[in-house]
């Protein structure tokens, strides 16, 4: 660095002695090695810019986030024709200008170097690049010749005009086989709400609650609409601070925020809920009349029995019950670790019973507000559809299958046999941005535009009381010439089946016409055909309308919750494929920002890991970083141990999202896929995959690797976060006024 400059010891010491800006600046006159040499970079001016464009000054456009199905509104900063930064849209009543880490990293989905950039068709054994004309000709041929019942469309959650076009395609083909599949969903909560409250998607008023008892609902990270929930949760904590109690076998982000974290034995949450209900009714704390028959039924969940089954101290159970009664209004929620059981429906029903007897229905749980146009409303994904699709595959029911925003070969448990079942499908089409596991198995791969290159409309399934359609508009020109929008492909395909669609050259034209024809009850009286309406929509990004309000009627019944017997088996542990804000169900494993973000609770960075309780690890003589083999009836994975107290002794948690076999350079061959070894157990009532019902044997291997973790300790070593003194003491010692 100091080439040619001779510094002897004396002058070096002199330099040190000088101090001050003069010396500090000495290094600043060195030619910076990273300074761009003149003439090495190009700078291209605009040809003929729009009036408002100023190089170096960003313009923000409204759009919609598609990183999960919550449908948050976005603002994207565009500079010199490039989308650079995504933030929440303040006009969206869902996320009120906020966004999460997955939303923020939408730019890395868009600029990802592993995008599919040209249509590919299977020729022989390999996928080869073909022209769009060839691809669409083949697609048209396949779709017009397939018989309706042998055509299937697999997607994630869908809404808005993309959903309308999908339904149109299915009806033109004459098929009813639409499988909307999402691993992370709230289907069982909705089914129980529908059956016990008469309303599938009631509005949850976190802000009105004084105490929230959540049975595994990770509402701050993965449940329903996390960004919206977090905003409401902040209100719940402000003013008179609400109390949050979280019951779950593995601490989630919400559990980490709770005042009381209760690790009940996996699968016993329903029993705990009924035990709490029993204390409440036997002490007369219930806010709603409870018939004697219900009281009698509840009486069998006496404290001793519940304590024994759940492994939670009686005093703690009593404390939860008294918190519900004293710190109300109460709100009780049920999420994945509680409902992901063979009797998940019953467990959720037991939880809902607490809401009913504590008078939450009508106070902290309000009637749903749904979007008035059914065709645009969300078609939510779930796992019962995966089960049905897998069944169809094994019965050789399909000849042509479309996959859009869905990668079941990765995310479905291997025991369902999706991968081998797909061999029986003659023509598989993947509409995708990335070469994921399912796409590479397809016969035709159609490269999609990224969310910030594409048009769309989104109506979120859960909107917390508003009825909004959010517009997705391209923030920039597509990066690659050969990618197309999902809607563009659907319009092109529909034009082959129906002359009526030929009037639309692309999806934009279709969308524009559809918005023009919107009835006045959707637009709030504004004239949709007016140009200013469309411009307003582009500007704000959201169309707020008056929703249809549902009604709530509570049904009191005691569910027949199961008491799992498996967990009593001391040699096995319950496998928890925990979901987290970040990699989600694995779809974000190709985003480096999310890969490098440490887990919110365990603080582990990169790779996969298996969280185990210190006692369980000690019994097996395991230490951090030891590689263990985790074996279920359906398969096995290997990963490193991360010892943490934030998990039940009878559980082992391997976060979902890693272990991709394909899916680009950042995702491929990193970690282990915990979803793949889940046993094919389903909730008996809803058919949802029981994600928390797999028992595994854990065995030590001789391998070990360094566990990469932020922070060396989980405890504070008796130190407080910030040293504080009281105002009084300060006045005494510092002599303030």
């Amino acid at each position: 660095m100091m080439k040619g400059v001779k510094v002897n010891r004396r002058s070096f010491l002199k330099m040190l002695g000088w101090g001050g800006a003069g010396t500090a600046l000495a290094g600043c006159d060195m030619p910076t090695t990273v300074t761009l040499e003149e003439g090495k970079e190009e700078v291209v001016s605009y040809l003929s810019p729009e009036e408002y464009v100023i190089p170096g000054v960003g313009v923000w456009y409204a759009s919609t986030c598609t990183q999960c199905d919550a449908g948050c509104g976005l603002h994207g900063r565009v500079r010199e024709g490039r989308a650079l930064k995504l933030e929440g849209n303040p006009d969206s009543p869902l996320n009120n200008g906020k966004s999460c880490m997955m939303g923020q990293s939408g730019v890395q989905t868009h600029y990802n170097p592993d995008r599919v950039t040209s249509p590919m068709m299977r020729k022989g054994n390999s996928l080869q690049a073909v022209s769009w004309d060839e691809a669409m000709a083949e697609l048209g041929k396949q779709v017009s010749s397939v018989s309706g019942d042998r055509f299937a469309f697999v997607s994630g959650s869908l809404s808005g005009h993309q959903s309308v076009l999908t339904s149109e395609l299915l009806s033109k083909v004459g098929s009813k086989n639409h499988f909307a599949y999402e691993t992370i969903n709230t289907s069982i909560w909705q089914a129980v709400s529908k059956d016990l409250l008469g309303d599938a998607m009631p509005v949850i008023r976190y802000d009105k609650a004084g105490v929230i008892l959540s049975f595994g609902a990770d509402f701050l990270a993965t449940w329903m609409s996390p960004v919206h929930n977090a905003g409401e949760y902040a209100k719940f904590r402000q003013g008179e601070r609400g109390v949050l109690v979280q019951v779950e076998p593995k601490m989630t982000l919400t559990g980490g925020n709770a005042d009381l974290w209760v690790p009940a034995a996996p699968g016993t949450e329903g029993v705990l809920a009924l035990g709490i209900a029993n204390i409440i009714v036997s002490r007369g704390w219930n806010k709603v009349d409870v018939p004697a028959s219900v009281k009698t039924e509840l009486a069998q969940y006496d404290l001793n029995k519940v304590e024994k089954i759940t492994g939670i101290q009686g005093s703690k159970i009593k404390r939860i019950a008294s918190l519900l009664s004293e710190r109300g209004p109460a709100l009780v929620l049920a999420g994945e670790s509680t409902v992901g059981q063979a009797k998940g429906y019953e467990a959720a029903s037991a939880v809902m019973l607490l809401n009913i007897i504590m008078g939450s229905v009508g106070t902290t749980i309000e009637p749903s507000v749904s979007f008035p146009e059914n065709a645009l409303a969300a078609k939510q994904g779930n796992t019962s559809s995966l089960k049905a699709f897998a069944q169809g595959l094994s019965d050789s029911k399909y000849d042509v299958v479309f996959f859009y925003n869905s990668n079941p070969i990765y995310s479905a448990p291997e025991a369902l046999g999706v991968e081998s079942g797909l061999d029986k499908v003659k023509f598989k089409v993947a509409l995708t941005m990335f070469p994921d596991e399912t796409a590479l198995k397809a016969d035709l791969v159609l490269p999609l535009n990224s969310a910030i290159e594409d048009w769309g409309t989104h109506v979120a399934a859960y909107q917390g009381g508003s009825a909004t359609m959010s517009l997705q508009q391209p923030l920039m020109e597509p990066l690659y010439k050969e990618t197309k929008g999902f809607g563009d492909i659907m319009i092109a395909l529909l034009s082959k089946l129906d002359e009526g669609y030929k009037q639309f050259p692309d999806y934009y034209a279709y969308l524009r016409t559809s918005v023009k024809n919107m009835p006045a009850e959707l637009t709030g009286g504004a004239l949709a055909s007016d140009e200013s309406f469309w411009n307003g929509l582009l500007q704000k990004g959201v169309l707020k309308t008056t929703g249809v309000t549902g009604s709530l009627t509570a049904t009191l019944a005691v569910a027949k919750v199961g008491t799992p017997t498996d967990h009593l088996d001391q040699t096995s542990l319950t496998l928890i494929p925990s979901a987290r804000l970040g990699l989600w169900d694995g779809r974000h494993a190709n985003i480096p920002w999310l890969q490098e973000a440490p887990d919110q609770i365990s603080k582990v960075v990169w790779d996969s890991w298996a969280e185990m309780h210190p006692h369980t690890a000690a019994e097996m003589n395991l230490k951090n970083g030891d590689i263990v083999k985790i074996e279920s009836k359906s398969g096995s994975i290997e990963t490193q141990v991360a010892i943490t107290k934030a998990i039940h002794r009878g559980a082992i948690s391997v976060p979902m999202g890693q272990g991709h076999k394909e899916y680009g350079r950042y995702a491929k061959q990193t970690g282990a896929n915990s979803l793949s070894i889940l046993d094919p157990v389903f909730d008996h009532k809803t058919g949802e995959l029981a994600t928390h019902a797999t028992q595994v044997k854990v065995s030590k291997t001789r391998k070990n690797q360094i566990l990469i973790k932020m922070g060396g300790s989980d405890v504070q070593m008796g130190r407080s976060f910030v040293r504080t003194v009281s105002a009084d003491q300060l006045r005494r010692t510092e002599g303030g006024a």
Partner: protein, 196 residues
């Protein structure tokens, strides 16, 4: 040698003479320094950067008396001064000097719907945030400095552009150069003002 070839030869001889003898002399000739600014100290001997079109700054600034910010219009509005859009060049050159080879080359670009790919001459590393707008505001707008003389302000960092054809880097534009000027002229001294 035909008349045109002869002409071209003469022009190139003349251009060579300008480059070899006149330019070094003129670039050393100092611009008047505005009274309210203590100028930054430092020299840099930049390379000649060949550009797709040999743009003559001297012709535009010296002969035509065009203000820097007429073309680099973004300087007062944005962090970057910007290269003028091709439409701006064509605004004049649809009519003016259409017989000159450089203008014909420009017109070719315009008709193809492309902008020339200019080579960057002045740049700072990505970890340095430099704003033209802030400097123009301080030294021109707020100082009530006549905007018609703005080249004296621009010249503090860009040198005497009116004596150049294509721009050349004649100031070091490194941290010492910046900080000394900031200290002398009461500019912000916090690290994060530039490194943000």
């Amino acid at each position: 040698m035909t008349a045109t070839k002869k002409m071209k030869f003469m022009v190139s001889v003349f251009a060579f003479a300008v480059f070899a003898f006149v330019l070094p002399a003129t670039s050393l000739a100092d611009l008047p320094v505005p009274a309210h600014i203590i100028p930054p100290v430092g020299e840099h001997s930049g390379e000649h950067v060949p550009q797709p079109i040999d743009f003559p700054h001297d012709r535009h600034v010296n002969d035509m008396k065009i203000n820097c910010m007429y073309c680099h219009t973004y300087a007062r509005r944005s962090a970057v001064a910007g290269i003028p859009p091709t439409s701006k060049c064509m605004g004049c050159h649809k009519m003016i000097a259409t017989d000159k080879p450089r203008i014909q080359k420009l017109t070719e670009y315009w008709e193809k719907g492309e902008s020339p790919k200019w080579k960057k001459v002045h740049d700072v590393p990505d970890y340095v945030h430099f704003s033209h707008e802030k400097h123009i505001r301080k030294f021109v707008d707020k100082a009530d400095f006549p905007v018609e003389d703005v080249q004296q302000v621009c010249g503090l960092c860009h040198g005497e552009v009116k004596a150049m054809t294509v721009a050349e880097k004649v100031k070091p534009l490194n941290m010492g150069f910046c900080v000394r000027c900031h200290e002398a002229n009461d500019g912000p001294g916090d690290c994060w003002k530039c490194h943000k």
